[in-house]
Symmetry: C2
Subunit: 345 residues, 2 copies
DNA sequence: TTGAAAGCGGTACCAA
DNA sequence: TTGGTACCGCTTTCAA
């Protein structure tokens, strides 16, 4: 009665030993029969298999792990799972894990380094075979000790680590460039940008692509049309009015999923009756983007591919663990080809 | 080199024994020191603690589990995690799990009984301390054998089980009733309904509440204004035009999250230039509902409360496992008080 | 305060 | 084709 959370402790766990005793044979024979070892007479094998089924026997993952066979547990560390991108990635990756018979353990970090650290420690305790993580935005890098011995795959963002980790990043340079061109083609010439601050690599890169885009369509970079900060909902929500009223922006490109949601939220609530048309390219591609106006444009992230490459990098193929050397993969984002205007009524 | 997925097998796992050997003492002393047992001299204790920290020691969860101490693993079975409701629930519940030091293992069932079965079996293998699940819509109930010995908490839907399981359901009767009243108050008198078919308990209950609502505002039930079927996106998407064109519906109540999304999707794409106003109450409360028109009404689900009660029912309080008897909780949904009209332009 | 032994559920290895 | 033994990491129990 020590295990208070299990209701039927009295019913005793069914183990190969209990089955063996029950059948009056050696537990080794039971082990062999239940592991597909050929060295068992078909008579006893059938006997054992039936007994095991009737008793509801399941192998103890703990015992296997303790022998050094590793686990089938994969950790996934995300800031949250409500963000459209994270949710869709988690969904796609969870499906892959299920397909490969892996357990997906999800921990939310809230983008806080301390929670990240705790989660990683716990994942080491249960000997996770791999950890897929979006590293915290502003984390110090000194957690190498914690991560040691773990097969780490960094997602989207990438932090320096001593242990050789893989990383999967999104190459959105062309997509953002295309977004500028697209908006320019639609006739807009005051194209604003809201993105993460330069302390983040994504903040630097995406801004650079925006800048390159402007250059290639013959527009000057106007610092007043650019807002950078912590990449969250509020940056987009509060930034849009500033760009519209203050700077006369006529179009906007968002450099982050949350930013994009914040911007759309405030744009949708805007009914100034002007009949003005505003150009918009969001980041990410949530379903509702296509519902607005004649469909807003968005930078489409390669979520399914990301999930597929992740599982590949983990190296779990039909239960056979393979050795996959650490690697870096960059997947291309694409501008979803919709009109991309919103009209204020 | 058997564990191919771990890169530094050669660096040997750090165990209490390896630490003991390293320090030239008994592994028991190390065990005591690292488990907070008072019977260790503070000298050796400090010595051991430092060594453990330097070596990056973590307790083996497998070894603890094998001794019968149980695990800190909680399983969550959902049809998917992109659905707004499931994603938000998973997010809230994952946070609770993190707060309590639990591992959340997520498996997606796609609402298929076979996947559900496989996942449950796997969760038994790793001795999950509890399993929270949305039972498949059309599953046969004969899986008692599989579930035996597992602490099961059924979410939203509820299936008969021999082993005594808890269930957490949403009581949306009043909210749906209120929705009808709300739409009637706005002046609509041809209020349609799209919901799950009667084979599901939610299908029966929600329809009944809709019916009751009509009665209470003095409207007759018109079978032509009701569409029922598998509660998915397409039911809403294809149902709306049928109700509008075919039956002259002027308002709609949705009896499911996916249905609601499908309906909104087609409504948003509708630009017939009529200037007609259409009443709408969605199911669930995704952020974008508030963006449409002056804000669409939705039936708000008590997600945070649901997550809180779930963790409570699991009985994990600060690492202390408590015995919580199986129970059924019904949480109330509420009509989010927004205007709830959409105008076709 | 410390140590030695036994056992949790499996499998590799050797012996019969 | 079978059975016995030892071990994986940790804690409970008993002995020193």
């Amino acid at each position: 009665m020590i295990l208070s959370t299990q209701e039927n402790d009295l019913a005793k766990r069914v183990t190969i030993k209990s089955i063996a005793e029950d059948l009056g044979i050696s537990h080794m024979t039971v082990s062999r029969a239940l592991s597909g070892n050929p060295n068992v007479s078909s008579q006893t094998r059938i006997l054992i298999e039936n007994r095991a089924r009737d008793l509801g026997y399941v192998k103890s993952a703990a015992a296997k792990a303790m022998r050094g066979d590793g686990t089938k547990i994969v950790g996934l560390l995300l800031p949250n799972i409500t963000n459209d991108f994270y949710a869709r990635y988690a969904n796609a990756f969870a499906k892959e894990c299920d397909r490969h018979g892996l357990h997906l353990v999800i921990h939310l970090t809230d983008d806080e380094i301390e929670k990240e650290r705790v989660s990683i420690r716990q994942l080491r305790e249960i000997q996770a075979m791999a950890v897929v993580m979006v590293p915290c935005a502003h984390g110090v890098a000194r957690q190498d000790r914690d991560i040691e011995g773990l097969n780490v795959i960094q997602l989207v963002r990438s932090r320096e680590m001593t242990s050789n980790s893989s990383s999967l990043v999104i190459n959105d340079a062309e997509a953002i460039h295309d977004a500028v061109v697209h908006l320019r083609t639609l006739g807009f010439d005051r194209i604003g940008y809201i993105g993460a601050d330069p302390s983040l690599s994504t903040g630097r890169d995406r801004f650079q692509s925006y800048h390159n885009g402007l250059t290639s369509v013959g527009l000057e970079l106007d610092a007043n049309l650019v807002i950078r900060g912590a990449p969250n909902f509020d940056l987009g929500f509060s930034g849009v009015p500033r760009l519209l009223e203050g700077q006369g922006a006529t179009a906007l490109i968002c450099g982050g999923v949350e930013i994009s949601n914040g911007a759309i939220s405030v744009l949708m609530q805007r009914h100034d009756g002007s009949g003005d048309t505003f150009g918009f390219v969001g980041y990410g591609d949530p379903a509702f983007l296509s519902w607005i106006g004649k469909g807003l444009a968005g930078i489409q992230l390669p979520i399914e591919e990301l999930a597929a490459i992740t599982i590949q990098q983990i190296g779990a193929f039909n239960g056979e663990a393979r050795d996959v050397p650490p690697a870096t993969h960059a997947l291309k984002a694409e501008l979803a080809g919709r009109v991309g205007k919103i009209t204020f009524t």
